[in-house]
């Protein structure tokens, strides 16, 4: 028992944080991809003059989620 590495409180918090940030950022990434696809489909169903803005917003969301995912990996 004495040879087991001692894990202190800060390490436990770090591990939990790493795990949750990875899981949630991955879920967010999947959501953003689906959201991007859906926006494209919606824009084809109802064609309005400024639908390009909505596509740009969905791309921003997708980029944000990719950034969050990489941030979670290298944090």
């Amino acid at each position: 028992m004495d040879n087991l590495p001692i894990i202190n409180n800060s390490q436990i918090i770090f591990l939990f944080f790493k795990l949750f940030s990875l899981v949630f950022s991955f879920v967010y990434l999947v959501f953003s991809v689906v959201s991007f696809q859906q926006t494209k489909m919606m824009s084809k169903t109802i064609r309005v003059a400024k639908s390009g803005i909505l596509i740009i917003l969905s791309i921003i969301q997708l980029l944000l989620s990719i950034f969050m995912f990489f941030m979670a990996i290298f944090l």
């Binding site: 959201s35 859906q38 926006t39 909505l54 969301q61 989620s65």
Partner: protein, 180 residues
């Protein structure tokens, strides 16, 4: 009612002769009225976002005790991204859940969540009965309500929920039926 002189009212929730087209539109068909939910019905989403932003800011008083600087930045960034997505998702739901009245048909296009789409179409000839329902303080004050369009036979009835000026919508459909 011509194709031109588009008239967008109440933050594009009541658009007369709009310049839009939709999937399955006939060559000689043009939209006369496009309806979305009244913007007032979206206020809860804005309030929720506001309080969520306050909550994220509030967390900053406690998080530095337990997390390092980069982790706090991540939590803030992640929280704000989620709020942005929540707002975006609600806006998309509002923007693409439309009722369209053309010179030939009545369409109700609904998107539920992210992956489910429902389109209900009825030709004007099949429209039998129109019911307008306005109830409650906010509905009366801001003039919005529901319009139910009953169609002949086994066809699905069409519902426009929380749309502005429901009486005027019913009047326009009646006018089209008389002209048709």
């Amino acid at each position: 009612m011509g194709k031109n002189n588009a008239n967008h009212q109440i933050f594009h929730s009541f658009c007369l002769n709009p310049n839009i087209s939709f999937d399955g539109q006939d060559a000689d068909e043009y939209p006369i009225l496009v309806l979305r939910a009244h913007p007032v019905t979206q206020l809860p989403c804005l309030f929720n976002s506001f309080f969520l932003i306050l909550f994220v800011l509030f967390l900053n008083f406690f998080l530095p005790k337990y997390l390092d600087f980069y982790q706090v930045i991540f939590v803030n960034f992640f929280g704000l991204s989620l709020i942005f997505s929540y707002l975006y998702f609600n806006f998309m739901n509002w923007f693409f859940n439309v009722g369209i009245i053309t010179n030939k048909r009545v369409l109700d296009i609904d998107f539920y969540g992210l992956i489910y789409k429902e389109t209900t179409i009825a030709t004007l000839i099949k429209v039998e009965d129109i019911t307008v329902k306005v109830g409650g303080f906010f509905s009366s004050f801001f003039d919005y309500g529901n319009v139910f369009i009953q169609t002949a036979g086994a066809e699905t009835n069409i519902e426009f929920i929380n749309i502005p000026k429901p009486q005027e919508v019913a009047k326009i459909i009646n006018q089209l039926l008389k002209n048709g």
